[in-house]
Symmetry: C2
Subunit: 458 residues, 2 copies
């Protein structure tokens, strides 16, 4: 086996250029899941992946349609019943590219500058998908897999759709495994291998506030009706109190307090106030009183305004009193908050606080629970050893602010834990313009995954 491990590592090193080329091709498909205009690109990305899986020796490779975007699946079960089975997760969809004018390169033409590759999806998570596929391929091309491998790659991660959960529930036998690998998470720094053991949940809303039946002349009617943009602002302003706490009724009721031991572990994160100031470029930090930035983004729930629209937003001035105003609002949740209950809390907040001078409508666009993973499983230990082999350092354990619903769904429907270990960096601009991935870290990640799989071989 140790011989095969070396062969696989060599194979990877001999094929680095091919891997880079593949990632560039993958990024060139604008598989933006939220935009109906990209429906064909979504299909194209799924087809591209299907061919990749076949090419690397996977069997039973199939594109499973869902009511929205398809799921790509393949497996190779030659290691036998005595061997472990890993289910590797990935998503091929990406965030929208806008604001386009803030990109320095074409978001869908992967561009290497120094050690970085720029492009939408470079780090979230086309780079991570290519990393896990490349690690498996390095092994299959040089011998037999030391464990059974199942690969599931979905297309709705960035829109938090309900279809993956249903698919997992309906395919429990096919997806049965001992543990899952989820590389849709990141490292704290290029020299700090990291295992994420907690991910925040997400509840995403669109709130529309309506006033007059149509846009009015602000001189002719201004002062006599409640301006919906003002009413929306007033409602948003009331969603936090002066201590930075979210005011939705019952929002914090189900949350377990952070234990001292955990706060200590989190305080070892190198992402201190100086990091957050530098990386965000904000004039000053902000947040819930009594918590560090690392705790605020990883271990505490938050409410964000993701978008605002009302009236005239073009160049110059237009004296319009708008007929409606819209906000995209999302909450990031921690265990044991229920995203649907948070929807009810927001609804209650609006019922209690919206004045009779406006009407409102609320849609919940996404809903996924937070997850907390076992930090002591054999899979976590195997990854920790693999990471130590590559980086000469034990991994840090961290809680992540982002949401990866699949971790909770694997726990719920398959009864298995995830090893959440990907190779993105906090500086990768994911979801923003100039998204990038750090190529040396991605390559080390592929080596770590090769070691990880061999560490679990019997």
């Amino acid at each position: 086996m140790s011989n095969h491990r070396d062969l696989a590592l060599s194979y990877f090193q001999d094929h680095e250029e091919e891997i880079i080329r593949k990632l560039k091709n993958f990024i060139s498909i604008p598989s933006v899941s939220t935009d109906p205009a990209h429906k064909e690109d979504i299909q194209k990305a799924a087809q591209w992946l299907k061919e990749e899986l076949i090419d690397m020796g996977m069997e039973d490779v199939e594109i499973y349609p869902t009511p929205k975007h398809p799921i790509v699946y393949g497996q190779k079960l030659d290691a036998g019943e005595d061997a472990y089975t890993v289910l590797i997760y990935g998503h091929y969809d990406v965030q929208p590219e806008d604001p386009l004018d803030e990109w320095d390169t074409d978001p869908f033409v992967a561009t290497i500058q120094g050690e970085e590759m720029y492009g939408r999806g470079a780090t979230d998570m086309k780079g991570q998908v290519i990393a896990s596929l490349s690690a498996v391929k390095a092994i299959t091309e040089t011998g037999d897999l030391p464990l059974n491998v199942k690969i599931l790659i979905e297309g709705e991660e960035e829109i938090g759709g309900p279809n993956l959960g249903r698919f997992i529930r309906d395919h429990q036998e096919m997806l049965a495994c001992d543990f899952a690998l989820n590389p849709d998470t990141g490292m704290l720094a290029p020299d700090l291998p990291t295992i994420t053991y907690a991910l925040r949940g997400l509840a995403y809303f669109e709130l529309r506030v309506y006033g007059p039946k149509q846009d009015l002349h602000s001189g002719q009617f201004g002062g006599a009706v409640h301006n919906p943009a003002q009413a929306l602002s007033e409602l948003i302003a009331g969603m936090h109190d002066e201590k930075g706490k979210v005011t939705l009724p019952g929002f914090y009721d189900d949350i377990l307090p952070l234990e001292e031991e955990e706060r200590e572990e989190l305080s070892r994160s190198p992402l201190d106030e100086a990091f957050y100031l530098k990386e965000t470029g904000a004039p000053a930090l902000w947040g819930e009183e009594g918590y560090s930035p690392t705790e605020r983004v990883g271990a505490r729930p938050t409410l964000e305004i993701n978008g605002l629209y009302s009236g005239f937003i073009g160049e110059g001035s237009k004296t319009v009193l708008p007929s409606y105003a819209m906000a995209k609002i999302s909450t990031r949740l921690v265990p044991d908050q229920d995203p649907d209950q948070v929807g009810e809390q927001l609804e209650r907040y609006l019922t209690e606080n919206a004045p009779a001078t406006v009407r409102w409508e609320l849609d919940q666009l996404a809903s996924s629970p937070a997850s907390l993973s076992d930090r002591t499983s054999p899979w976590v230990e195997a990854y920790a050893q693999a990471a130590e082999t590559v980086w000469s350092k034990r991994p840090l354990f961290k809680r992540e602010g982002g949401s990866v619903p699949v971790v909770g769904e694997f726990q719920e429907y398959l009864g298995v834990e995830c090893v959440n270990a990907g190779f993105g960096l906090p500086t990768d601009n994911l979801h923003g313009p100039n998204e990038k991935v750090h190529l040396p870290t991605l390559k080390k990640g592929i080596q770590a995954l090769i070691h990880f799989f061999f560490n679990l071989g019997r």
Copy 2:
């Protein structure tokens, strides 16, 4: 003279169709002043007007360029030095047409339905311009003018630009007159001739609130920095208190209280709460405590949000933490508020209330003072008599919520009063989609103007 009056009225009636055709042509030129894309249309509208003025017998007709949009001017001074001189004001620019999808007809294809003509500018104020030109033409085509006529039509009314004020200041001799006619105002109802004696001023701003240096992942950073869309909402929410009063420091300091006599006159307006509810379609009225809707829009200053933008406003969800947020904010002012001082008040409000967690920038895009006109001048009396001739009713006096900066500029630079009498209706949807003008009222208006000019003949 009385014979000439009848001839002019007949001439008008014989040429109604031609007038409608002219208005349609005028509306078909999309002279949107705020949008640089319409620069050529602005020129086209000015050229179209120049030809109209020449065609109706005006002399010294010229297009005067300004740093932005040109001014069209013409005059006919045959009535001699003993006769009065009137300066007729108009503007040929219009508001942007958006939101386009809320129009039932093409905004730049004037469409008659029943008694209404729909189209951008139909009432504000291409219809009013055509009305005054048609009244003058009916007189010049049937004899000599009973008074000297000067006509000035500008192209920056809807953007509140500084160029008209400068032009008036620099052409005091050319524009010298006994009084001005400003038809850029309206009537309270089709059977209620109306003279506007007060117009609100305008101060228009764009406020931009900046947080992180670029859009961030709301999971990765949400909770650690102040979301600019939230910060903007908080600032906007604070701009009114719970009594509907504007909180900018010093905002009400210079305002003269409404006198009982004036409140009584205003209370005779037929625009009661039921009108405002029906016309706006708002679920309930709103506004400054202690004032009626008519007082709120006419006699009290207000602050409106005209536009809001931040982050992702497309279909679906994007979990972005936006880097900035923008609001278009305007205040409508009453005598003796100074629009530039209001700019300083808003600046002070922001300095005092914006948190250190965000940066902000404020631009003042428009600035014009309110005006209050003499209700007892001979010109006002001549118009009152003319209106009574046509509608068999003495006109009501009203204060209007909109802003027509030229009224104050004529007072300041020419030392003359305006008769503010136009034929728009409160139901005309000015500045909104489906703007329209009521054709029977416009035609009566032309008759009233013919009488008005003859009433002032010597």
